[in-house]
Symmetry: C2
Subunit: 640 residues, 2 copies
């Protein structure tokens, strides 16, 4: 066992009891001694249920008085004081029926719920768990909780949701109820999920992955779902282990175990269950390079870079130059191109122009490739950022010497003294063309000799529908249209793709379609306009919150770089995906088809995207059509 795991990745473990302890302090001390960080206990005794008066145990007048002034009798309370509230999470009464068909039961349930919440607030309980969403209609439950949580500030509110519904073990009925609830409550950020792991897991992995897009704050692992190992100790099945570790890794939830009322695993002690959870926690898969690089950036919305309008800072270069994979691929591409283009032993000096040389990493790639391939080259290093240009001068003076000619210029305006065989650039954004690589290379392609090449040779944008409560809420927090119509660079973590991404469009370099005069600049930018759509048939009931975007690029022949999940260059961290929000979450019923429409548009000064989403049912019926986003680039554009 590896005990050196980062403490930041350790989840708290709590002990849940549905018994009502008269001496709560003693229970907490015992739980603590058995290694639990907190406890979960009912707030009130079952006696409190008399207020519903379903058994006529109190008089009508008594009930009326209570309804008018819902005050606790201290005898009804399990958590009687604030003494333990920092270590305790309260279970709200399980007899509360907010969607009863009886108006009187609904009303009294609402009053009782608010009474418990009010008390929890008063004593600053750290959390509250609502026992279960009703199986049928849950509109009134949603309405009551949505209003009631408004008064909570410190105390967290969680809804206990089972992973699978007993009536539908292989489906996602339980998720659907939760989904309906949170849609009605409009992704209320004060309402979280306490996901209860069940013995049965759905066999389809996507039904598990969907939970990663939900606001899970706690995971309940009942003792009953443990099995006994050969030695008589409680353990979890491999699929359970894997899913729980996945949750720990992505969401860092509070973990909650229970003690069975009777011994169900021969060798189990009060410590066994929490120890096992801690064991799983310590054995999380180690963070890979990309994860480590991304720490702190998960699901964080970054505005995409605008390298044409803004100059990058030294620190940005510093970070991206450390990518272990990207420059290796560029070197390989230049190497293969040199082998293909120049015979071994030839004296031909291949002219390579690096456009957008930054602080010089691609120049180094070219020089290494030349050395390895034993080909002669001369490199022009073009850079428009005057700050980076100083670093280039240092490199030339100290290392490169005559092999490299420095040029301080914007590639769209420079007139070269000679043409090149190979044009090398690294202008790609997360969506391929979103940092205006097409426009820049259009301007630079007049530098290329006939028969010369560009590295990259082409790039393709990919998109897929995505679910993510966290991303949804991060965008919604801005409360304005602009942020719903702006793409962000995001390291995805608590997300679920509804279907694998599909290609939208590509750009090829050099552009041989006749859009650009052989020795000049394009008349206009109309040839860089794109329109494409992609359809995704979704096999489970799901929700969609936005669109994930990726790119794939051929540098040279079979040398690629990619951030598309299926072909992602292992270990390459220079690009996070791009995220296009949508203005309202979209319900995606089982078997329906999500269509994404995407445009890349341009005018004399700007490039922008517009996008929209439609959902059609199995019979082609129109379920949802969103308005076109970012009309005319009103909310977001990239400046030329």
């Amino acid at each position: 066992m590896n005990d050196t795991i980062d403490q930041a990745r350790m989840c708290s473990v709590g002990l849940l009891t549905t018994d009502c302890y008269d001496d709560l302090g003693n229970f907490i001390v015992q739980a603590d001694e058995a290694g639990h960080d907190f406890i979960v206990t009912p707030i009130s005794h079952p006696t409190f249920q008399r207020v519903l008066n379903q058994d006529k145990s109190i008089s009508e007048q008594e009930q009326r008085n209570w309804k008018d002034r819902p005050v606790f009798d201290r005898k009804d309370l399990v958590i009687r004081s604030a003494e333990w509230s920092g270590r305790a999470v309260g279970l709200l009464a399980s007899w509360i029926q907010l969607d009863s068909s009886e108006p009187e039961v609904r009303m009294c349930s609402e009053l009782a719920l608010k009474q418990e919440m009010d008390w929890a607030c008063h004593i600053s309980l750290s959390g509250l768990i609502f026992p279960a969403l009703p199986k049928g209609s849950l509109f009134n439950t949603a309405r009551v909780i949505n209003s009631a949580v408004k008064s909570l500030s410190y105390t967290q509110f969680l809804i206990r949701v089972p992973l699978t519904d007993k009536r539908d073990v292989q489906g996602n009925l339980s998720w659907k109820q939760w989904n309906r609830f949170r849609t009605l409550t409009e992704y209320n950020t004060k309402i979280h999920v306490a996901l209860e792991i069940t013995s049965e897991l759905p066999s389809d992995k996507q039904l598990l992955d969907m939970w990663l897009a939900e606001p899970i704050k706690a995971v309940i692992v009942p003792a009953e779902i443990f099995v006994e190992n050969a030695k008589g100790y409680p353990v979890l099945s491999k699929p359970h282990q894997k899913f729980i570790q996945h949750l720990m890794d992505k969401m860092k939830p509070d973990m909650i175990v229970t003690l069975p009322p009777t011994q169900i695993h021969k060798k189990a002690t009060p410590q066994s269950y929490s120890e096992y959870i801690n064991y799983l926690n310590r054995r999380l898969p180690p963070l890979n390079d990309v994860d480590q690089f991304a720490t702190g950036y998960q699901d964080f919305l970054q505005a995409p870079l605008q390298p044409l309008m803004d100059n990058l800072e030294n620190q940005t270069y510093e970070v991206f130059e450390k990518d272990p994979i990207k420059y290796q691929q560029y070197e390989k591409a230049v190497y293969k191109a040199l082998l293909d283009r120049v015979e071994h032993g030839s004296d031909y000096v291949t002219t390579i122009m690096v456009v957008g040389a930054g602080r010089g990493p691609l120049v180094n790639c070219c020089l290494r490739a030349a050395e390895k391939s034993e080909r002669k080259i001369h490199v022009y290093a073009l850079e428009k950022n005057h700050n980076a240009y100083v670093t280039l001068q240092n490199a030339k003076a100290d290392v490169w010497g005559d092999k490299v000619t420095l040029v301080f210029a914007d590639m769209r305006k420079w007139t070269p003294p000679a043409k090149c065989d190979i044009l090398v650039s690294e202008l790609l954004g997360s969506f391929g063309d979103n940092e205006l690589s097409p426009e820049c290379l259009d301007g630079a392609q007049k530098f290329i000799k006939e028969g010369g090449i560009s590295i990259p040779a082409n790039y393709t944008a990919f998109a897929s529908p995505l679910a993510s409560t966290r991303l949804n809420n991060n965008v919604a927090a801005y409360k304005d249209l602009e942020h719903y119509e702006t793409p962000y660079v995001v390291m995805f973590q608590q997300v679920c793709e509804l279907a694998p991404p599909k290609a939208l469009w590509s750009f090829e370099h050099p552009n041989t379609q006749g859009d650009i005069p052989a020795d000049g600049d394009p008349m206009n930018n109309l040839h860089n306009v794109r329109y494409s759509h992609a359809e995704f048939t979704v096999k489970h009931d799901m929700i969609m919150n936005g669109i994930a975007g990726y790119f794939e690029s051929v540098l040279y022949k079979d040398v690629m770089i990619s951030i598309r999940p299926k072909t992602h260059s292992p270990g390459m961290f220079s690009w996070f995906p791009i995220y296009f929000p949508i203005r309202t979450p979209v319900q995606v019923p089982k078997g329906s088809t999500v269509s994404l429409q995407f445009w890349r548009l341009t005018d004399a000064k700007r490039v922008w995207y517009e996008w929209t989403v439609t959902v059609q049912g199995q019979n082609g019926e129109e379920m949802t059509t969103l308005p076109i986003h970012n009309v005319g680039g009103r909310s977001y554009y990239v400046g030329l």
Copy 2:
């Protein structure tokens, strides 16, 4: 023929030609002489189509030059100057294919469209008609037009939409294409419909009525749909007449006729078609009392009255006292109650309390009912508005004398000297209970003797899903959440109900459920909380923009007042319906079920509604769930 029709109800009539006249001025003069108010003509000659270069009639370079600088050759223009633009509407080129599968055709179509629009704008053409939405995908058409209309200010933009699609005469395929288009363009208020009447009309009336909810600015009536009457003149079929008159009545569109290329109706002259349209226009059904009263208020959003918090103005009383039906019904109710409760010839003096007497109309009802029934009464007239109270004093001094005792008090606080047999009030709002009649009458019911009655005896709120572009846009114009969560009093005009309204809940008076002590006030207002839902199965593909609300009230036994369409008291104008907006339009596919959830909620100081909408498909799949509106009364409430 009735030539005295209100000029305000007369639609302009224009003449459409698809021919390209070299001498447009001459054509306009002729059209004018034949009684047309304006003309509709192509903007450009078919020669302009060469820019698409589908027949390779121009060189690639010529096309490139045009794409870079799309300028008209004056020979391509039909409307060459601004001279006639006030009298002309332009037809955009019919060869424009914004959703062609060919990127080059799409691009050139977009440039050509913008070029025509730009010219139309420059010469201040009064309107532009886009020839037709594509039959299949229309995403790019929507994207282009949505952006392009931004530059229009004076010039109106219309899309020609046929009433029925030839492929689907009995369905609403044509509407569905329009609906998809306007959803993508987010109800862009610069885009209107030019509805083209077709020979075939759908047999289901709702498919016609749906168009009343659309932003129709013009109706095109082609000569081809006219039939020949016995004398050889062109006339329209009865169903066509009826539908066109309905459109004229509700929407006052510009009417557009055409001249057939060859004589198709024996006796037709160039005047015949427009004369016939003018004839239909003059024969619109006369405005009824309610219509006349509502003139200027159609589809106008009024905040509901808050008579408890605000005192009504004299003018408001003045208007509502003129209702010819309401007081007639109250008189009838009191009359029948007196007959039932007191034997003929008895000396018993029935005590009637009018709570909220205003300027006294209900007092007069009671006095007339007493006279007619030959029963003895004494009336207490209670009023809290000190201004209205002055008018009451005048009436007592001048007319009523000892038969009426005036009381200046709030009915929730007054202690009566004696109890009454009949409590009469008119506290209803458009939704029944929305002006707090329940709370007021709860406070006043202690005035009622045992066995006494309240007039009204009960009232019921009704709701139905509604489509209306105009109401949608009127709410959207406020651009804030509050207005999407506030109900309005609205005289519906350009609306279409998706299904007839259903009852939500009722209030009965006096309240005998034990919520209110016999001689006192209620402890709290919990008994006036309501929660209800209603389901509506919708038989055509439709759109929903909000919820229509109505009330129905039993004053006494079979004497009712109602604003529910099916039972609306004829001629009663005191209440317009209530309209609850929803935050996004909702697609309602054929056969799906719309569920409305409604709550009436209350705290110590306020009463408010919350509501939401879900749509489920035929197999129960969840298509749309809206968030609960007006959570906790955050946007709208009525003060107690």
